[in-house]
Symmetry: none
Subunit: 195 residues, 4 copies
Amino acid sequence: MTVTSRTRAPRSDGLRNRQHILDIARGHFAEHGISGSLDAIAKEAGVGPGTLYRHFHSKEALLAALLTARDDEIGARRDAITRSTSDAGDALAQWLDALIEWASAFDGLPEPLRAALGEIPSPLTSTCEGYVVETDRFLARAQDEGLARADVRGRDLFLMALAISWTRGAAMADGASTSLMPHILRAGWATATAR
Amino acid sequence: MTVTSRTRAPRSDGLRNRQHILDIARGHFAEHGISGSLDAIAKEAGVGPGTLYRHFHSKEALLAALLTARDDEIGARRDAITRSTSDAGDALAQWLDALIEWASAFDGLPEPLRAALGEIPSPLTSTCEGYVVETDRFLARAQDEGLARADVRGRDLFLMALAISWTRGAAMADGASTSLMPHILRAGWATATAR
Amino acid sequence: MTVTSRTRAPRSDGLRNRQHILDIARGHFAEHGISGSLDAIAKEAGVGPGTLYRHFHSKEALLAALLTARDDEIGARRDAITRSTSDAGDALAQWLDALIEWASAFDGLPEPLRAALGEIPSPLTSTCEGYVVETDRFLARAQDEGLARADVRGRDLFLMALAISWTRGAAMADGASTSLMPHILRAGWATATAR
Amino acid sequence: MTVTSRTRAPRSDGLRNRQHILDIARGHFAEHGISGSLDAIAKEAGVGPGTLYRHFHSKEALLAALLTARDDEIGARRDAITRSTSDAGDALAQWLDALIEWASAFDGLPEPLRAALGEIPSPLTSTCEGYVVETDRFLARAQDEGLARADVRGRDLFLMALAISWTRGAAMADGASTSLMPHILRAGWATATAR
DNA sequence: CATGAATGAGTATTCATTCAT
DNA sequence: GATGAATGAATACTCATTCAT
C-alpha cells in the first residue's frame, strides 16, 4: 500500500510544494516587505491557504523556514571569516556585518526577530539564539585579545545589529547611513587600544 | 483625579475631556504599547469613538499630542544640558540619552517615529525633524571641537537613538543593555582623541 | 429688557446667520451635490452644527428652505408663462421645462424630492405637492383644449420631470440627451392632434 | 429549501453557499430595497461578513451577480420579442417595457445602474452597456422603418427606461402611473406617422 | 441664541487560522 | 495530503443629531 505501482512517485509533491512556497514567499517578502497577508502568498504560489498552513503553522514559522534556508549560507560565511581573518576584532566586525545584512533581507524583518527574543518563544527564537551564541564566540575571542570592551555581551551586539537593520527601513537612512552605522557600531564596542 | 466619581462621565468641557483622553491614552500606551486600537482607548476613557476622532484624527495625531505635551520638558532638558555642560561631547551624549529616553516612553513608539521620517508626512514628522535639527546643533559643536567624527550627521545619530529605544522592547534587553548601549553609541561617534 | 439701549440691534444676527447659511449651503450643494455632510457646511459657514440645526431641523429642511427661496422665482416664471403663452400645450411644456431645471439645481436633488412624495411626509413634501397642483392646472387647461392626453395626471408629469432631472446625473447623459428628453416627454403627453 | 433545518448552517460547499447568499440577498433587496448593509445580509444568510466578501467584493458586485442571474431570462424575452413581433415599433416598446421591469426589481436599483454608466467603471457597467447595445438594435430597426424619431439614441431610451423605473419608488406612483408611463415614453419616441 | 463637544450606532473591509470536502 | 470556503473578531472611520456650556 505504501508502494504503489505508479511510475511517478506522488510523494515528492509535498516537498516540492514546500520548496515552491518558500521561493514564492521569499520573493514576495523581498518585494513587499513582511506585512503582506499569507493569503496573497498562497495565491501567488498557486496553493490554498490550508496547504501553506500545513507546512508552516504561522507567519513566523514561514519566516523561520526562510531564514533556516539561509543557515548554510551564514554558516559558510562564519567559517570563511574564521578562516581568513586572523584579527579577532576584524572577525567580530565582519560577523556583525553579516548579521546586519541577514536581518535586512526583508523590510520589517527586524521586528519579529526582536520579538522572538522576548519571553514568549516563537519559531524564530531558536534561530536568533543560535546567532547570539555565535556572536558570543566571536566576541569572546576579541575580548580575550583585548580588542573588545569587557562589558559588552553577545546579546547586546546582536540586538544592535538588528537595530541597525531596523533603521534601514527609514527613508532618512540613505547610502551614507548604511555604510556609516556599522563603523559606528564597531567603534562603539572596540577598545581604545584597538583603534 | 481627572474624573469625578459619577458613574457616567459628566459632560465636561472640551479641554477637560481632551486632557482626560490624553491621560488615558498615555496610561494605555504605557501599559500595552501603542499597538492597541483607538476604539479601545475611547472605551477606556468612557467616550465614544467619534469624540476621540474629533480631537485626534489618527493614532499618529494622538501620539503626536502626547509627545508635544513633553516638548517643554525636552526643551528644558536641552537648555539644562547646554547651560551646565561645557564639554561639547558630553552635551551631545546627554542629548542623545534624552532622545533615547523620550522615544522609549511607549513600547512600539520608535516604529511610527521612524516612519515619520519617511516620504509621507505624518503628524509626527515635524516633531522628529525638529529633534534632528537639535541633534545637528549639538553635533556641530562637538565636531567643531574635534570631539565627534566628521562623517556623522545628526540624522544618523537621531536614527541610532531611535534604534536603541527600539531594542528596549526586547526582553533580552535587560538593565545592563539599557545602560550599555548609549555608551557604545557614544564611543561610536566620538573621535579617538576624545576618549 | 426687550429693548436695549445699544446702538446696533443684536437681534438681526439670527436672520443674517440664517441667510448666510443658506448662501453657503447653496454653493456647497451646487459644487459637491447634496451628499456632503452638514458638518462640512456648518464649518464652511463658520457656525457650529448646533446653529445650523437650530435653523434647519434636518438636511431635508435645509433643502426645503433652499427651494422655498426659489419659490418667488418659480412663481414669476409660472406667471410669465401664463401671460405670454396662449397655447395651453406650449404653456404646459414650458412649465415642465421649468420643473426639470428646478430639480436639476443640485446633483442628487431628485432623490429626496421623489422620497418626499412617499408616505412619510418630509419638509419637502409641501413644496412638491404645491408644484403638483400647479402642474395639474397647466395640464387641465391643455386637456380642456384637447392638447393633452386625458389619461395623464399632474403627478405623473411631475414625476417624469423629476425623472428627467435624475438622468442628468449620468455621464451618459450628454448635451444631446438634455435637450432631447423634454421633447420626448412632450411628445409623450401631447395628443396626436396637438402635433 | 435552501438550507437544512439544523440550527447552525452546515459547512456546505461553496457553490451552495454562494447561491444561498444570492437567494437571501434577493429577498432582502426585494423587501428593504438596496440600501441595507452587506453585514445585515450576511447575518441574515447566517454567514460571516468575510464569507460574503469572498464571493462578492462589493455591493455592486452582489447586485451584478443578482442581475446576471437574470441574463438568461432577459435574453429569452428579447428573443421572444424578436420572433413574435413583426412591427419594429412594437418590438422596441416591448423591449423597453422589459428593461423597465428589469430595473424595477429592487427599490433603489436604478441609482447604481445610472452610476454604472458614468466614467468610473463598476461591476454593473458591462451589463448596462450590453443592454444599451440591445436597445440600439431594436431602435435601429424601428428607425429604418420610419417608426421612431431619428434624433433618438439607444442610450437615451435606456436612460429613460431607468428613469421610469426610478419613479416607481415614489408612493405617488400608483398603478395608473405604472401602466401609463411606458405609453408616454412610447408616444415620445415614436414618429407621428407611427401612431 | 450660539457654540461645538459628545454621541454611538453603523459601515466597509481585512486576515490569520480552522475545517469540511 | 491538498484544497479553498468559512470564520468572525477586529479596526478605522463617519455623521446626523443632541445637549451642556
